[in-house]
């Protein structure tokens, strides 16, 4: 296992703003191939490949496509979720900035496969350069659109709009509140039409699967997790950046690939974003699929204070909760209070129990994933680094 380039194969090899470069390396061949197949056959290949969503949820992509395809001949949409907001994640930006045509091609294939006539690219507002490149790519790829319309929408700085139903609300021009599910977007999505929402990396994987076949892809990876994953490795490593790893790669290998922990520093833990549990130094043999998260890989050195890190995460959720459901809106306030209290006076046993209770309530009752996972990181930190939180 280790580094393996599928999505990032042509990164830094072709000019991102040149469609000719992309065509030279076999660009849009997968689209041609897909369009020569039946829609059902394309979906079948994706099903066979075992590809799962790369936005963090890990839902089997082929099943999602099938659900939208089955919705009959109504108006349908494909949405490319490029609203990458997880702290420490920047792998979707890499795709947009290094090979935007790959994403456009993937989106075209998806639109063909599910029978959609319009694609929305929803790109994080903080990625202006990526948006510019994407715009050019969309214009240049006009000959390949086959009548499919494309619209690029920019996010406006909200984390919650990366949640698929809040994203739908945002495109509809409303406040980014997650919707009540069901109905799921595959049935009633954008303007109540069947909608396929896929993460950018997921769709960027599609052209290669169509070209090489689902079976080929399903042989890469480890167990239930097929293929590769882009990781935004950052923090205390020598060569931070986006790397592509085959599933089955361990955290240790990831750090090695990124040049190892920065000189003269020990490693304390790895944080896969703000909403997944920490991985302590002694568990670096863990595989990337066990670590989870949505592509962030933050390496924390010995010098890092875990409580301070937790506080910054709590502040993040405090700002980014959408405010709709009670347990999240008020729970993140409590979360921040706990994190701040630690930094002022330290926590005691009663605080620990109260915090666990809070995390149980938020996990069980929050409306969307944000609230459900807001306490996860701090909870793991309390288990792993309890002594750092105690009253000093």
């Amino acid at each position: 296992m280790g580094e393996k380039k599928i999505v990032s194969r042509n990164f830094n090899r072709i000019k991102p703003d040149s469609i000719n470069d992309y065509l030279e390396v076999g660009g849009y061949e997968a689209l041609k191939k897909a369009r020569s197949m039946k829609r059902e056959e394309v979906v079948e290949e994706i099903l066979k490949s075992g590809l799962r969503g790369r936005g963090g949820g890990g839902f089997p992509t082929g099943r999602k496509w099938k659900l939208v395809l089955q919705e009959g001949g109504k108006e349908k949409f494909v949405i490319v979720n490029g609203d990458e907001g997880e702290p420490g994640a920047f792998k979707d930006r890499e795709i947009l900035e290094k090979n935007p045509h790959l994403l456009v091609e993937g989106a075209f294939i998806a639109a063909y496969a599910v029978g959609a006539e319009k694609i929305f690219f929803y790109i994080r507002g903080e990625y202006p350069f990526a948006q510019k490149l994407l715009k050019k790519a969309v214009v240049d790829a006009g000959d390949y659109s086959n009548g499919i319309k494309i619209e690029i929408r920019s996010g406006a700085g909200s984390y919650i709009c990366g949640e698929e139903t809040a994203l739908l609300e945002s495109i509809e021009g409303k406040r980014g509140h997650p919707r009540v599910k069901p109905p799921f977007p595959t049935k009633k999505g954008l303007w109540e039409r069947p909608t396929l929402v896929n993460n950018a990396e997921t769709l960027a994987t599609v052209p290669e699967i169509v070209l090489e076949g689902g079976e080929w892809y399903s042989e890469i990876g480890n167990g239930e997790w097929k293929g590769t994953q882009l990781l935004s490795v950052n923090g205390a490593v020598e060569k931070p950046g986006v790397y592509e790893f085959e599933f089955g790669t361990s955290a240790e290998e990831v750090i090695e690939t990124a040049g190892g922990v920065r000189e003269e520093m020990g490693l304390k833990a790895v944080a896969p974003g703000a909403s997944s549990p920490l991985v302590p130094a002694r568990e670096l043999s863990k595989k990337i699929e066990e670590i989870g998260g949505s592509g962030a890989f933050i390496v924390l050195s010995e010098e890092e204070s875990i409580p301070e890190f937790c506080k910054s995460v709590a502040e993040f959720f405090f700002k980014e909760s959408c405010g709709k459901c009670v347990p999240c809106r008020l729970g993140v306030m409590r979360l921040l209070e706990f994190a701040e209290k630690r930094c002022e006076s330290g926590l005691n046993e009663i605080d620990f129990q109260d915090f666990l209770e809070l995390s149980r309530v938020m996990e069980a009752t929050s409306l969307c994933g944000l609230g459900k996972s807001a306490c996860v990181l701090m909870k793991s930190a309390l288990e792993l680094f309890k002594e750092e939180f105690l009253r000093s």
Binding site: F317, E320, C322, G323, K324, V326, L330, V361
Partner: protein
């Protein structure tokens, strides 16, 4: 039909019903602060969480399925529910609030034995509107007000603003409510589970006026008598006209009169106006008694304002006659008369302020109290509804017909008009118009008038009014008479009525009103003897020069 188990008991449900709906039908209580049956599911309060074989789901937004086993009161559910209530009250300000005793959150907290906290957020009061007052430190963001305004009324004056934990109910660009599209209907204050949005109170002003030595007279709208007893724990739909008169007298009013008296004038004047328009082929005519509806036209369909009847509302006609006819008759200086209105409505507070309603620079109606405010004032005076005697209204502004009684229900104004219109035009198109009664959002009837068919349309809620207007503007619907009441059920479901007001309660109040009409000796407005006397002694001809001057206003953009 599907079958599922709730707390071990088998129950039947329709396909598509949510767990919450099924549970409530079967008398299983699940608390929910953000659920309203006619609005889209919101899923924000998370109090309706139930357990499905270990999974925790929100009952308001999960459909019942065959074979489901729902636990609404398991240990885990109880614990989670308790924690959520604790969170809510710990960030809630509960010291002084108009809703004490009727606050859904307070009720829930007490039931669960949770002390209500006093964690004061930043002050966020908005008293800019004449009709409603917002104290958003008490808001729990259930989103009912936002959805009522957007979905039921299609006004959209309220929205959720701010980020994260500082989210709050707000207006566009955080403007004062008075500068938004708000039409003052007050449905938000009726549906608010806490005291975050309430009627703009003028209890203190009325108390002060009662002690000022001026000549205080009071009028009560048709729908108060079927609702006020609810404030004292009586069942909805208890008709208590006579106890209400006695209660008002005990508050210290010199004369206790009736808005129904004014309503009969509205009917007669508007009937003439309608026949004139019909003859000139200038219909449709829109009714004008609902001030929220008039504001709605002004704000959303200004080019249609001339379609709105020029006749003043019953409240304003009453006020006008009180300060002209009554003052003259009693040899009183009109400036010494204070007219207090008891309304089911918050928008009436705005109507009373309108410039065009003034007579000789005076407000025709000085203060408007809602049913809820009246309830609070009576309670403060220790008035016991059980012990009150039954008394009559005073004369001469207290007599009315059955046509005025039904003004309180949606369809009532149209019905009252038709009773009189057919008399004036000759012929008889009947007394009771069943197609115009009932709970449907849009009701229609066709009557024979002046040798042609006249189409009468009745809409309740502004959302339905918008549908009618848009169809009319697209040429898809022809209308001669359009009655709109902004609140569901008409005034009896008004924004100032007792809390709670829901579908069943509205139905019971309506039944009481129609019963009252049926039992009255005079059921047509033009047959009201007191009305005839006023035209004879004071106004002269119906729809004549003086009536037009006093009882009508110009509707202009």
């Amino acid at each position: 039909m599907i079958e599922l188990k709730i707390n071990g008991r088998s129950v039947l449900a329709e396909e598509g019903e949510t767990i919450l709906e099924v549970a409530r039908k079967n008398c299983v209580e699940i608390p929910a602060l953000c659920y309203l049956e006619d609005l889209s599911p919101w899923g924000a309060c998370r109090l309706c969480m139930v357990e499905l074989k270990g999974d925790i789901v929100a009952a308001c937004s999960t459909q019942a399925c065959n074979g489901m086993e729902v636990e609404t009161d398991s240990l885990r559910v109880r614990e989670l529910r308790r924690r959520i209530i604790e969170m809510l009250v710990s960030y809630h300000k509960c010291d002084v609030c108009k809703r004490i005793g009727k606050c859904e959150l307070e009720h829930l907290a007490r039931k669960h034995g949770i002390a209500v906290g006093e964690w004061v957020k930043e002050e966020r009061k908005d008293s800019s509107s004449p009709s409603i007052e917002m104290d958003l430190a008490n808001g729990i963001l259930c989103g009912k007000c936002v959805r009522v305004c957007e979905e039921r009324q299609t006004v959209g004056a309220l929205c959720v603003g701010g980020r994260g934990s500082w989210s709050k109910v707000s207006t566009a660009f955080e403007m004062p409510v008075s500068e938004t599209a708000c039409v003052d209907c007050g449905q938000c204050s009726l549906e608010c589970p806490t005291g975050a949005i309430s009627e703009k109170s003028c209890e203190k002003e009325v108390e002060d006026a009662l002690g000022s030595g001026k000549h205080m007279i009071v009028q009560a709208a048709p729908s108060i008598r079927v609702a006020i007893a609810e404030e004292f724990g009586f069942p909805p739909g208890t008709l208590s006209t006579k106890k209400m008169a006695a209660a008002l007298r005990r508050m210290g009013f010199a004369k206790v009169f009736d808005t129904d008296f004014g309503a009969d004038f509205t009917t007669v004047e508007e009937a003439h106006e309608f026949l004139e328009k019909l003859a000139q082929r200038k219909t449709p005519l829109f009714t004008s008694c609902c001030p929220a509806w008039v504001s709605f036209i002004e704000k959303f369909y200004p080019h249609l304002i001339e379609r709105v009847s020029s006749t003043k509302s019953p409240m304003e006609i009453f006020g006008t006659l009180a300060k002209t006819y009554y003052a003259k008759k009693m040899k009183l200086d009109p400036k010494q008369i204070i007219v207090v209105m008891i309304a089911p409505c918050t928008a009436k507070k705005h109507e009373a302020e309108r410039k065009e309603m003034k007579i000789d620079g005076m407000k025709a109606v000085d203060f408007v109290l809602t049913t809820r405010e009246l309830g609070r004032m009576l309670k403060r005076r220790g008035i016991d509804w059980n012990l009150l005697p039954e008394e009559e209204f005073d004369s001469p502004l207290g007599e009315s017909s059955g046509a005025a009684a039904v003004y309180g229900a949606s369809g009532g104004v149209a019905e009252a008009l038709l009773r009189t219109v057919s008399y004036i035009a000759g012929g008889d198109c009947g007394m009771e118009f069943q197609p115009l009664r009932g709970v449907n959002g849009i009701k229609e009837a066709t009557v024979q008038l002046m040798g042609r068919e006249a189409r009468v349309v009745v809409a309740q809620t502004l959302g339905n009014a918008r549908i009618i207007l848009d169809e009319f503007l697209e040429g898809k619907r022809s209308i001669d008479l359009l009655e709109v009441m902004a609140c569901p059920g008409g005034c009896l479901g008004g924004g100032g009525q007792p809390i709670p007001t829901n579908k069943e309660i509205r139905l019971k109040r309506a039944q009481a009103l129609y019963e009252q009409d049926r039992l009255l000796p005079v059921r047509k407005a033009h047959e009201n003897p007191a009305l005839k006397r006023v035209y004879w002694e004071f106004l002269g001809e119906q729809f004549g020069k003086k009536s037009k001057e006093l009882l009508h206003v110009e509707r202009k953009r």
